[in-house]
Symmetry: C2
Subunit: 425 residues, 2 copies
Amino acid sequence: MTPASFVDAQAPAPSFPDAARSDPAALGWMVGSPPPAEKLVQFANGSAYSFPHLRWSFSNFRQLVPTTQVGRGIGAVQTLPRRAIESLGKLEFLPLGQSVPMNWEDSLAATYTDGIVVLHRGQVVYERYTGALKPEGQHIAMSVTKSFFGVIAASLIAEGTLDETRTVASYVPELEGTAFADATIRQVLDMTTGLQYSENYADPKAEVWAHVRAGGVLPRPPDYDGPRTFYDFLRTVKKSGEHGQAFAYKTVNTDALGWVIRRVTGKSVGQNLSEMIWSQLGMEQDAYFTVDSVGNEFAGGGLNTGLRDLARFGEMIRNNGCANEKQILPEVAILDIRRGGRKADFAKAAYPLLPGWSYRSMWWITHNDHDAIMARGVHGQSIYVDPKAEMVIARYGSHPVAANGANDPVTLPAFHAMAKALMKN
Amino acid sequence: MTPASFVDAQAPAPSFPDAARSDPAALGWMVGSPPPAEKLVQFANGSAYSFPHLRWSFSNFRQLVPTTQVGRGIGAVQTLPRRAIESLGKLEFLPLGQSVPMNWEDSLAATYTDGIVVLHRGQVVYERYTGALKPEGQHIAMSVTKSFFGVIAASLIAEGTLDETRTVASYVPELEGTAFADATIRQVLDMTTGLQYSENYADPKAEVWAHVRAGGVLPRPPDYDGPRTFYDFLRTVKKSGEHGQAFAYKTVNTDALGWVIRRVTGKSVGQNLSEMIWSQLGMEQDAYFTVDSVGNEFAGGGLNTGLRDLARFGEMIRNNGCANEKQILPEVAILDIRRGGRKADFAKAAYPLLPGWSYRSMWWITHNDHDAIMARGVHGQSIYVDPKAEMVIARYGSHPVAANGANDPVTLPAFHAMAKALMKN
């Protein structure tokens, strides 16, 4: 089984139905009393991860697997002020490698956008939803999840709870004898660890298969006898090469970081997220995590949130940890992320569409002329923070191709064009 | 396997550890990174339903099984005004069959209360939490769920969408040939159907086993070949005796009603609950339903809510469907429930602790001198609406004995004493 969401980024993209023809509401997934058999989306048979079914799953993960609450608390909702600028839909930009401009509205279908919110100076200037996502629903953030782990860890470092120079195993002795024994917290945060861990989903022996099956992210074959929790999988990860030499994006780093966060705080990552962030920002909705059988969050991509709440979080990052006139997270932690990581380390990973970028504390740093930073997840999940344009974009999507290389040629120029347009408003 | 929550109410109660010694927080269920094996609560091995583990499960069902959101929407929270009256903790009352008074505070431990909120004229006068439940968390409502189905259906009847004199099968032709073929909506709502359906959990052949296994409420044995959804189970229910003769509390009536609601509205019960009620009351938190593999809500007991939100709902019922100066539900629907059902029908069910009560639209009507009505779920889940005292009590609990007969001797006089005390305030 090779669910679409885990297809190798390098494989030639098959032809997929476009956004309108794959619209999950129009296709009627899980609609009916009961839904007819051909409209069922199920975890056990893998249909939840196949395209176009995944366009429904991404807004309904809690119906497929166990989850834990990331509580908003019981306080007031902080209203998002609105100043809609309808002309933004007609904004034109040139997709990478194209000679014909595209307009913003068309870019939404091109990227299979489920929902997008653009904030300018904290006000909603543009907001759209399609398909299965509603303003009052939640969508899976995929690897945007990692950036939340990064912010939590960076904040724990800033307040002295966590020492970035110490090794992972010094916090989690269970990881002695693994690749994480001598990896520092900083190396894990910046993904410069040397790990024997392949995310090549085309290879049935790739370690990522064991990883996601261990956590119950994918169904297990009947004869499965591998690790049964994320932690059990972490204990099998071997070193390959040296740490601290190059950026290498490997999901398992975030799981290791999650174990450290849980150990030093004595609380689940979800509890930390609720206490440090979710209950502090006047969120509209609870968020939730998909979890393994012992309650460990899927660090690689298990957070699900409302889109507008994701935007609220991005706005707090834009304001260096400040929201509603309160310093929610240590300013020094956010400034460190915004400064970015070592470009030379990043260059070794050879992302042709991300030239001159770096990676810091599980955030992607563009180092463009606006100093924009991103949280990025497969299939198009994004938080885009543009300090110069005082803009935040939160986008959830369900692109048929997992790797963001498939949507970046549209996404990156579109977001930058939006920033430039807003600077004139 | 006979999980404690399904133990036959008539069996002699074994001796259980008291509330303090079974406190889930103190016992540390699912705490640790990872939790040690002996602290795990799991669905697959049935530990989730055993005592004292269930004291954790009841506040964490979403971590055990698939769930769907009952959205609060994205609007403002309607603040619950507070006017704490600390002296209420010392309130004394005489438990049924006892000669020594008990005080209110002691009654919480005696009933394994996880949380309780008392509203007087819409203000919070008393609020307590213990164990695994927090104000910002959700707890399973068990059969209190049924009263939500009842209110939704009563409202659909009041607005003319549903005709209480028509048969179930006239709405859901799939139920032709079952006990529901000639049962009217009203008979299902008042549970006066004649069904071959035993809820005697001591009998391994009781139909309730097939019912809950069909819906995935309980784990299935490896060789399971029975129905795999609630609807599939409903199609197996046979008639026994005549409809409309006597009250007989059988969970499966609510599942049948759920199918009707879904069919006539074209929306899931959860969507109906969100649109008609949850998004209308300024709730603090989303609620959620546990669902079967095709997304059918567990009508018998699958709703999970914040306790304060449960109290907000009760307060709206007390105000005959009105909240925040808006008529949320048809007044005539709530008035009909409050008037109650036929006492003679109820008497045939022989509840020794509930003399003179009746059952109407899935609510329990006390017909006491305050005209109080209740929503009731196993293990002590309650909404108690006392119009004369202008009082609403919402309580979540995790009593070791499922049947409310185990806590009613304390609960019922305690609630009535509270009402009388508040009438003097």
